[in-house]
Amino acid sequence: QQQVKQSPQSLIVQKGGIPIINCAYENTAFDYFPWYQQFPGKGPALLIAIRPDVSEKKEGRFTISFNKSAKQFSLHIMDSQPGDSATYFCAASTRGSARQLTFGSGTQLTVLP
C-alpha cells in the first residue's frame, strides 16, 4: 500500500514558471516531511523538510506548504530554471524505527529554457 501519494507523475514548465508538486498521506503518526531531489545517475539529496507544527517553510526558491487537517503538503519552485530539471520525491517518517522514510512515487520535472 502506498502511504504517501504524489502527483503529478511528470510536469513540464517554462523557465520562470512555478511548478507545484503535491503529496498526501494517511498515517497521522508521520511527523517529518522531507523533499528529495534526484538527478539522473545520482542518489536523492535532501532539498527541504518541514515538521507539522508549521504551515510553510521557505528555503531560497523552494517552499513547502503544509496542511495538517487535510493531510497534504506540496512543493513550490519559484522562478524555475532548467537546472531544476530533476525527479522530486516527497517522503514522510515517524519517530522511532530509525526514522525510516516512506517515499512518494516521484515527479519528473522538466523546465524548458
Binding site: V4, Q6, Q9, Y32, P34, G41, K42, G43, P44, A45, L46, A49, F89, S93, S97, A98, R99, Q100, L101, T102, F103, G104, S105, G106
Partner: protein, 114 residues
C-alpha cells in the same frame, strides 16, 4: 569527503546467482539503510540498521539479507537472484543523534537479473 560510497555501480546477474552489494560511509553515522528504486514506485526500504551488529526489516525484505559487522559498512546480499530483483539499489546513512537528521544517499547500484 566521500560520504556514502556504493560498489559496484553496475552489475548483470543470471537468475539464481548470488552477490553482495557494499555500502560504505565515512561520516561516522549510526543509522544505515538499503532501498530499491523502481519506476513509478519511488524508493522502498529493504532493510536498515541502527548500529553496528544490528539489522531490521523494512517494507520489502524478502529475498535479501544484510549485515553490519562494522559501523561504516552495510552489506546487502542476494542469495538467489530473481528477475523481480532487477532494480536500482540505494544505500543511505544518517547520524540518528539528537534532532532529526537527514539521510545521505549514495549514487546507487544498477542491478539487472537475466
Amino acid at each position: 569527503n566521500a560520504g556514502v560510497t556504493q560498489t559496484p555501480k553496475f552489475r548483470v546477474l543470471k537468475t539464481g546467482q548470488s552477490m553482495t552489494l557494499l555500502c560504505a560511509q565515512d561520516m561516522n553515522h549510526e543509522y544505515m539503510y538499503w532501498y530499491r528504486q523502481d519506476p513509478g514506485m519511488g524508493l522502498r526500504l529493504i532493510h536498515y540498521s541502527v548500529g553496528e551488529g544490528t539489522t531490521a526489516k523494512g517494507e520489502v525484505p524478502d529475498g535479501y539479507n544484510v549485515s553490519r559487522l562494522k559501523k561504516q559498512n552495510f552489506l546487502l546480499g542476494l542469495e538467489s537472484a530473481a528477475p523481480s530483483q532487477t532494480s536500482v539499489y540505494f544505500c543511505a546513512s544518517s547520524s540518528g543523534q539528537g534532532a532529526i537528521q537527514p539521510q545521505h544517499f549514495g549514487d546507487g547500484t544498477r542491478l539487472s537479473i537475466l
